[in-house]
Amino acid sequence: MMTIEDISFTYKGKRGTTVLQDINLRLDRGFTFLVGENGSGKTTLMKLMTGILDAGSGSIQIDGIPVGDMEYRKRLAYLPQVFDIYPSLKVREALNFIAGLKGVSGEEFDAQIDGIIKLTGLTLHMNKKIKQCSEGTRRRIGIASTLLGAPEVIIMDEPTAGIDPKERLAFYKTVRECFTGKTVLIATHVLSDVDYLADNVAMLKGGRLVYNGDYEAFKHSLDGRVYSLKCDVSGLYTLEEKYTVLSTKKTGDTYECHVIPLWREAAAGLEATEPNMEDVWLYYERTV
């Protein structure tokens, strides 16, 4: 279990920018998605969790072990957004080096690497150079690298950025197979990723945690409050006087908008609709 308590972070400098404020978060086993728009503080929070940045105040711990401790590092794995490791290395060589640098040794060394190669389906690729591997295979090497050292907590920074939907699904299938039973935190912008795997959601806005909890509850938090209305382009400009405007879809010259009325009477004549993930996301981004 990972706990983050009272974490705030300000970049030093003449005019320090506060990126995170009063973050309290507890990560239990399962998949937690860290969502939020660009600049909301996701990457900074992950850097603090991996020990790349030092928070100064507050505490980050895994099972009571503080960040910065060698034992903490052993229990944590990190997968960066771009997994472009040295292309001249062979897959097996790269995994050997990673295992060695993570402190895996002795009899466990070969057994663990062999097991992970098998689990991630890399058996046929282990003698290939990384530069000869496809993007999908490289992602699997990334997953394999995070599994080495048997960490308890895994942090992934936008792992599906820049890959097509087919590879994305394959990636998450492997993630689900390999990381079940571990504490996994995945930062993403892709809403479909959240829907595919999430047990919990943590949402950052302007450096503050605006939602932290069960994904199903997050998904249904707007049930019964969202209405659908249609208007033309000129109508779009006046909508915000009466509604919080959520997702908008254009069909021909007509716009179909999902809205939440600002007062009860404004809902008169509107048709209630089931909110989608984009609605929930936009609601928390704009109003909370």
């Binding site: 997994f83 490791i85 001249s88 290395l89 080096f97 060695g100 640098l101």
Partner: protein, 338 residues
């Protein structure tokens, strides 16, 4: 962990085509050099060892470029293992220096072969070998720490061209540089020898026999160069640890500016030309419009933060009159439509 990092870097260096090209080029130059000695000198003797200085320029150039290439390799593998970047960079530079020092075998082999063929005394031969190996090593250390630091800080590929002025200044070639400057100012002899890796502090008289000069002057220079390289390595460490605050780009504004400070914000505007305009009114007016997001090149109506410095630029082209924010800096179209 450090031993495993060394192992990784040696593996990467020795399996790299660039490194083998480095060895090949220097060996090639060395062969060319020995042929030239044969043509000009007639025999491959100790008498002509001083002509190594020309070959050492090639060593310096290739060492610098090699360091730039290696320091720029991405370190994702190390990040995955949560190894601090400062440690990775330092070990990478040291590994590269150790691997590159293989080329010290060239003067060693050359001197040994000639010593045998000319029946030179052991101690003299040994001193000569130590002298040239140490000098080549100091060239490698200085050029590779410098290449690593500059290659890390300067992102442009043109950094490779920087090797030319650096090698000119830090080698015996600096005498030509100072000669070119002699019309402006006269530099004393010691300034040339002080910054040259090849010369000693006090240049000895050119005599017609080669002496290894393995003396205190040489050793003090060696220590000074090692100290300077350590300083460069520390600067690299500093740059890596502080990079999150470092700017990735530089914008140069040239001209004559007037300067005024209000509420902690400094405003710069053209000093001459359109000074009749009401700059304060223009600035206030520009705050009522949208501004450009320089990353996406789209207009945004997000609220203006309070910028640290404001540059009011007369006809700020390509922004259609809208302002642009770069962190704490703001560029405002001067002569706007208030």
């Amino acid at each position: 962990m450090s031993a495993k990092l060394f192992k990784l870097y040696f593996k990467l260096i020795f399996s790299s085509l660039i490194f083998w090209l480095y060895l090949l080029f220097i060996s090639g130059f060395f062969c060319l050099f020995t042929v030239c000695i044969g043509v000009t000198g007639g025999d491959y003797s100790f008498l002509l060892l001083e002509t190594f200085v020309y070959l050492e320029v090639a060593v310096a150039i290739f060492s610098f470029c090699l360091a730039v290439y290696f320091i720029r390799q991405r370190d994702t593998l190390e990040k995955v293992c949560l190894i601090p970047e400062t440690k990775c960079r330092a070990i990478k530079v040291v590994s590269l220096i150790i691997a590159s020092s293989i080329i010290c075998l060239l003067p060693l082999i050359y001197c040994s072969v000639i010593a045998v063929s000319q029946q030179v005394g052991f101690s003299y031969c040994f001193m000569t070998i130590v002298f040239y190996c140490a000098r080549w090593l100091e060239i490698i250390i200085l050029m590779e720490t410098m290449g690593s630091l500059l290659g890390y800080i300067v992102k442009s590929p043109f950094i490779y061209l920087l090797v030319l002025p650096i090698v000119i200044i830090f080698s015996f070639l600096n005498q030509y540089f100072f000669q070119a400057l002699s019309s402006i100012a006269e530099f004393p002899e010691w300034t040339k020898t002080l910054i040259s890796i090849q010369n000693m502090y006090v240049d000895g008289m050119a005599v017609d026999y080669a002496v290894p000069r393995l003396n205190l002057l040489f050793l003090s220079k060696l220590i000074a160069i090692l100290a300077f390289s350590t300083l460069l390595l520390y600067l690299l460490y500093f740059a890596v640890s502080k990079k999150r605050r470092a700017s990735q780009s530089v914008c140069m504004l040239e001209g004559f500016f007037s300067e005024r400070t209000e509420n902690g914000t400094t405003y710069y505007s053209a000093k001459y030309g359109a000074i009749g305009d009401d700059l304060e009114k223009e600035y206030e007016s520009s705050m009522t419009f949208d501004h450009w997001n320089y990353k996406t090149m789209t207009r945004t109506d997000e609220p203006y933060p309070s910028p640290n410095k404001v540059f009011q630029i007369y006809y700020f082209y390509d922004t259609r009159g809208y302002s642009m924010l770069f962190g704490n800096y703001m560029m405002v179209h001067h002569f706007t439509k208030y």
